[in-house]
């Protein structure tokens, strides 16, 4: 038994000492070429397995294996394996992201009511030239350019490749350009600031034949911005016959409806959660 163990140990040691070896730098940067050192001799097969590639090629053991920059563009863990007649040897190494030079910008929402505090979420993802998330902290310049206004900008340091800022919408409607810049990258998104809910909703009525024409004053929000056409205004008539509601979209800034009235009636108006004035009218007068 002892003899057998000794023989196995010797054979094993001989096998280890004769096996090909492979050595790569522990870390490198994306897009940089490297040379992987090997030992041993004779024909061998080299494998390089990375996040987006699995390369296999014939090499000579003992020679350096050049790995070109194109094979090392994706950041992450790589495994290099050298298989010769006496077995396989392997090593692993990391490719780190290159310098930040690209941005991906998420701005939400694309339409926002005016005067909304922190209503616009802006997130910038920082990448290198090879679409790897650049994890080293870098200053990202956010800028806001509203129509007829001066540009406002602020720097935020990225953390794990992410920088973000919350922006309040202006009091005046119109487009606002939101940008983020780093290195040579500059991304811009446009957010449309639209009127908020109607404010001081008022109606008036005038007689037409056997009905009343009820119409609003120009519908505006509390900052004086016209509420967009298409916004629904609800007119409600209450009389002896019960309650009737008619929904009408705003057209050219006002909403109007013809309501037949028999006897006395009360007409009210609302848009969303906002209510306006009430009118008392009498039919046949």
């Amino acid at each position: 038994m002892r003899a057998l163990t000794a023989i196995l140990l010797v054979v094993g040691t001989a096998g280890i000492s004769g096996a090909a070896e492979i050595h790569a730098p522990a870390q490198t940067t994306a897009g940089n070429a490297i040379t992987i050192a090997t030992s041993g001799s004779g024909d061998a097969t080299f494998y390089l397995i990375g996040p987006a590639s699995a390369l296999k090629q014939k090499v000579q053991a003992g020679a350096g294996i050049p790995v070109d920059s194109g094979q090392l563009e994706r950041a992450g863990r790589y495994v290099a394996v050298l298989c010769a007649s006496d077995g396989c040897a392997s090593t692993s190494f990391f490719v780190n992201p290159a310098a930040a030079n690209r941005l991906s910008l998420l701005v939400h929402p694309s339409r926002v009511p005016v005067g909304r505090t922190n209503g616009i979420s802006t997130v910038a993802f920082v990448f290198d030239n090879f679409h790897n998330l650049a994890l080293k902290s870098e200053p990202v310049k956010f800028s806001i350019l509203a129509k007829d206004a001066k540009e406002i900008s602020a720097n935020r340091d990225s953390e794990n490749g992410v920088a973000w800022v919350r922006i309040s919408s202006a009091r005046k409607e119109g487009p606002v350009r939101i940008g983020a810049a780093i290195g040579h990258a500059n991304e811009v998104r446009v957010v449309q600031q639209v009127a908020a809910d109607a404010c001081n909703l008022r109606i008036k009525a005038s007689r037409v034949k056997n009905a009343f024409l009820v119409e609003t004053d120009p519908v505006r929000d509390c900052s004086g911005n016209p509420v967009p056409d298409g916004t629904v205004v609800s007119f409600t008539k209450s009389d002896a016959g019960g309650k009737t509601t008619v929904d009408v979209p705003i057209k050219r800034g006002v909403a109007r409806v013809e309501m037949p009235v028999e006897g006395g009636a009360r007409i009210s108006v609302a848009s969303g959660v906002v209510t306006g004035n009430e009118l008392e009218v009498a039919g046949g007068q």
Partner: protein, 179 residues
């Protein structure tokens, strides 16, 4: 009850206990069981994570790993469609294509993931996570194992919501623990 019967029953109970423990600690394999994923959502910000999201993110991340492991073992890029998008899908599809060209396969034995949510966008449209993963990996050339190793790895992961699930948009291994 005779002494031999008592010993027999004791032995059987011991065997059942051992089997139960083995099943509990058995790691998920690529082809079958869903990888175990634990999520720490407390550190997410600036938006705090909703209850439903804190359940769906680990579930969808586990399904993403399961589909990735199957795609790399069976060399079927189509399996990536359900839970990957953007650069993550593009990179893994490239990996599968080059595995096919080289005649390689990658086999995973998943031993679990600890996810920390590090960023949740104010509008809820993106989430960044850090994954501390443990798995055994084998690379096969024509069915022959050319590389195998236990791996403790860290990943920075970017997920974005899709129609009915969270999708992995970026997954990037970072140095930290033993490669």
């Amino acid at each position: 009850m005779s002494a031999s019967l008592r010993y027999l029953l004791l032995a059987m109970a011991f065997c059942i206990l051992v089997c139960a423990l083995a099943v509990v600690h058995l790691p998920a394999s690529a082809s079958g069981e869903l990888p175990h994923v634990e999520l720490q959502a407390e550190s997410a910000g600036p938006r705090s994570m909703e209850d439903l999201t804190s359940k769906s993110v680990p579930r969808d991340y586990a399904l993403a790993w399961q589909s990735m492991e199957r795609a790399l073992e069976e060399n079927r890029a189509g399996l990536l469609d359900a839970y990957f998008t953007g650069f993550a899908k593009q990179d893994l599809t490239e990996r599968v294509k080059s595995q096919i060209q080289s005649g390689l396969q990658t086999r995973y034995q998943d031993r679990g993931h600890k996810l920390d949510a590090v960023f949740y966008a104010p509008a809820g449209d993106a989430m960044q996570l850090r994954d501390r993963a443990q798995f055994d990996i084998q690379v096969l050339d024509g069915g022959k194992v050319i590389y195998e190793a236990p791996v403790s790895a860290q990943f920075i992961v970017l997920m974005t919501p899709g129609a009915d699930r969270w999708l992995v948009r970026q997954i990037q291994a970072i140095p930290g623990e033993k490669p």
